[in-house]
Symmetry: C2
Subunit: 328 residues, 2 copies
DNA sequence: TTGAAAGCGCTAACAT
DNA sequence: ATGTTAGCGCTTTCAA
């Protein structure tokens, strides 16, 4: 059994209040007392119980972060950026992966009971669930999902860069483009789609949409099959993420389609494989997303902020040969 | 202010003990009382304080997982496998990334004070630090590091598959191979190196070693530069991980070296980019590693296990054209 | 500078 | 089936 504050107090011949003071504010205790307490603590191998502390202080000293999944390169980076800042600020980090489970709401509610505040990423729970938490007074920051009234939010720019992507495709000689993705899967996708459509209209690019069930390589392969059954391929295919684009390119090539000669393909995310596949894509400040959320949350918990904040971090179009006219 | 068990008790006209019972074991309370308590709890929007519970039960209901980093595809998958099982078992998950920081030891000690047990991945802290925790009675499971006396351990097989890799290279026509990596970076690497060396000797393959500073694409590029300055390239280069191999291949090609005609290259991990680069590599059961660790830890915490366990999960050689003789 | 004592919100004997 | 009460290990007034 680990020793408690009482053991140390007895052994040092002081009261527990003095031990407490010696541990948290050594300067307000006489040097001699401090010495004795320290000696006793060392001797007994005493570490203050977090549980005792937390209950007395009525704070957890921990934050939660909720995400759909951690496979794939995306959320891992965001979580790292978050963890880095949070642990710098001396707070523990609790994680929760929802995996699209319907029980997500209860899971998050439970999590909320274990920490001082929550960061919620992407497509994990409904806005109502968040609002309920917010009403209960749980400090909340969302990342990569549309702002919820009164809740802090951090996101990566989608619309403008998707607009720029449309322009780039037109400049590369495309006359038509199809957007490949599933807007139901994530709010980000909806914005990318809207940006691409807006850009396409602006530059006179004929634009349409093809929905996929899953936004992974499998989904890309399915889309390739579908597209190849049409009378003609579009000039360009803008995919909602890289995995989709990679799966698509692979499947197209298996069917003898040459990218980018026969069709331009683009992704979104700039995962590592995108470089090796020479895929034009969009890079997001993933770590920054997490780090910013961590700071926002800390401000909320410390009560340093009243007005809800909405921050949109810039993204960057990365042009590679999968959409480059020079190589066609 | 959130309502407490006393508020509910008063409002329902019962004692706090009854409220406690109604919340945790409804069956031992009369239906009428249960109804009244539930009504009061609903009315007051009562959720039992985790902090109060935890202190009274003297358990955190949470486990920690410690890893070097979450960028790259490796640890993220392990953490997901872990989180999945742990949350299934009703335990919260605390994460800690050490980033090779020297303060890792204190960070882990702090973390240990917040949970009922710890999973420690790879190159994060010294064995002594772990032994100290184990002595303090903290349930512990290590993953992907050499077993520490008395501590449960889960790892992926390295030696045998590295041995098989050497055989494969010899079968592909190689007469010499260099192992590229940095054994100081991770215990896994040491084992892969040993396995490769043993296999190479067995099949009469000339084997040597080249150390890199960093085991990422940058490290691979540096190695390429070094190798190209030698009078001749080896027949094969076995890299300690995929990132190294990918960086190496890219840099070699920039220098006009043709893979696999001029030199065979292999990696380790089977990251997504490896498929697109046609890289021969070794696949590890990452999620399983995490899931197994979670179960081991739960057994320890529940006191279901006395003898320390060591589990080694099998890995699989994935042959692609970067080392295939048929394409040479 | 130090100590006594009253919580923090809950669980779990023990008693009824 | 329910209530009383004594903790769990700490922090923090309030006095001395």
């Amino acid at each position: 059994m680990a020793s408690t504050i009482r053991d140390v107090a007895r052994s040092a011949g002081v009261s527990i209040a003095t031990v407490s003071r010696a541990m948290r504010e050594p300067s307000i205790v006489s040097v001699e007392t401090l010495r004795r307490v320290r000696a006793a603590a060392d001797e007994l191998d005493y570490t203050p119980s977090q549980l005792g502390r937390q209950l007395a202080e009525r704070r957890h000293g921990a934050n939660g972060i909720v995400f759909p999944d951690l496979s794939g390169p995306y959320y891992g980076e965001v979580v790292v950026g978050y963890e880095d800042v949070a642990s710098e600020l001396g707070r523990a980090v609790l994680i929760l992966a929802t995996h699209g489970r319907p029980a997500a709401r209860e899971m998050i509610t439970r999590l909320a009971g274990r920490c001082d505040g929550l960061v919620v990423l992407g497509h994990t729970v409904s806005d109502e669930a968040l609002l309920e938490l917010a009403e209960r007074g749980v400090p909340l920051v969302t990342v990569a999902r549309p702002p919820v009234a009164g809740v802090d939010s951090v996101a990566a720019e989608n619309h403008r860069t998707a607009f720029a992507l449309a322009t780039h495709l037109a400049d590369s000689g495309a006359r038509s483009v199809v957007f490949l993705g599933n807007p139901d899967r994530s709010p980000d996708v909806t914005e990318r789609r809207a940006g691409l459509f807006a850009g396409a209209r602006e530059v006179g690019l004929e634009v349409s949409e093809l929905r996929v069930e899953t936004m992974d390589e499998q989904g890309g392969a399915v889309a390739a099959e579908h597209l190849c059954q049409q009378p003609a391929l579009p000039d360009a295919i803008a995919c909602a993420n890289d995995e989709l684009a990679l799966g698509l390119m692979t499947a197209l090539r298996e069917r003898g389609v040459v990218v980018p000669r026969d069709v331009l393909v683009t992704g979104w995310d700039d995962v590592m494989a995108a470089r090796y596949a020479e895929l034009t894509t969009v890079r997001q400040p993933l770590r920054d997303l997490g780090a910013t959320a961590a700071r926002f949350l800390d401000d909320l918990i410390a009560g340093r902020r009243a007005e809800p904040r909405i921050e949109v971090l810039p993204t960057e179009l990365i042009v590679r040969s999968s959409s480059s006219p020079r190589e066609r």
